[in-house]
């Protein structure tokens, strides 16, 4: 059977989550690989959550937030941007492929972009193959 990635998505309720809704309303097609978790702001996504998802065998993690300057809480996504930049380096330094982890700005009006990002990310993860942790007996 073809490998179908398991992607955990953290979506800001003000933009990316609304964008995902819109993608549905627009009947955009995208693979059923992403499990979205609605969060109040992308700034609430602790780097610990991302590591936990990867450690439990997620093949990829996507964080979706508002465009810079559009944050409902003014500067939440600025913090996300800085944190996730450091986190992807941390993941890489600790021996994990940071391409499994992605940060995207998707507004509530960008349903089409949401579908495109998920499709593209799924393709990328398919190329990378399953999370190596699973081969070592992870959950």
């Amino acid at each position: 059977m073809e490998f179908s990635p398991n992607i955990v998505g953290f979506a800001c309720q003000w933009c990316t989550y609304a964008g995902a809704d819109l993608a549905g309303n627009l009947r955009c097609k995208y693979p059923p690989t992403i499990k979205l978790i609605k969060v109040p702001c992308s700034g609430t996504v602790e780097p610990e959550f991302v590591l936990e998802a990867l450690a439990r065998g997620a093949d990829g993690v996507l964080i979706g937030g508002c465009h810079i300057g559009d944050c409902h809480y003014k500067e939440g996504n600025h913090k996300t941007e800085r944190r996730m930049l450091l986190l992807s380096k941390l993941i890489e330094d600790a021996g994990f492929d940071s391409r499994r982890f992605r940060l995207e700005w998707i507004s509530g009006a960008e349903g089409k972009k949401f579908a495109e990002v998920v499709t593209e990310f799924t393709e990328q993860i398919k190329e990378l193959g399953p999370n190596p942790i699973k081969a070592k007996g992870g959950e």
Partner: protein
Amino acid sequence: MAEKLKMAFLLAGGCAGCEMALVDLSDALVDALEHIEVVFWAPTVADVKYKDLEAMPDGSIDLGLIDGMIRNSEHVHMVKVMRAKCKTLVAFGACATLGGIAAMGDMHTHKELFDQAYLKTFSTDNPDGVMPTPEYLLDGKYDLTIPSFTDRVMLIDELVDVDYYVGGCPPHHDFVGKLIAAILSGNLPPKGSWLTGGHAVCDVCKRNPAITGQERMFIGEVKRMVDGKPDPDKCLLQQGYICFGPLTQGDCGASCLNVNIPCRGCGGPIPGVKDFGARCVSAIASSLKDIETTEQLMEKFPNLAKFVYRYSYTSGTLNKKL
């Protein structure tokens, strides 16, 4: 007089710095000896052998302290023996609780580690390339063995149940004094807890800007200690010197900060932090001014994982599985 509390100390894969912290108690330790009897303290202080501990009845020791991580088969065996003999077991110090300095070795392969230790180092004189061999037959008749290396560094609680955790590299001797007093009085939290004052390093640091009512500013420029001498009174983070004080337990009384050195997190994470490195990233990144400063930090600290997981790599989320 009531019967003395029987205590045992085991040094697993550590540097004996935690032993030094206990010895540094000096008078307090001598006074405590009225109430405690040290039945085992090896391989550093007392003249008792592993076989003496193995010969003691199970559960006969009231309190056991293990410092150091599990790095070879000897540690694996002795930690199990300690658990069987001790009623209460404490993982003592950064290595036993979080992995410690040596845990960073797990970011390398065994070959890299052995090559570095036995072949490549500048001071190594090993022309025949002799490497440690766990089993060796000498002269065709003497079976010689040394402990073998484990796959990776393990924490004490990965192997056996641990009742209490104490952070620090080493734990500050004043704090150790308080601990022993608490243990003697039986005034202890539920099992599985960290024994700590419960404050972050910043809470006990005299540089904390909150003390003088100052606002916390974003960090505009990241500096390393080689870049200059920090102002001895101002918060190091505010000056751009990255400090892990906000999320480290401050049982040390901010000792490093008192001598102008930033905190590197040996005290262990404050309650609620699951992955020290990830939370460091979170805390530091939110104090940085902008994305340029973040890039500057990544440039100045080329290996971020070794920076934020200096004492806690083994306790990190990803390490155990990669």
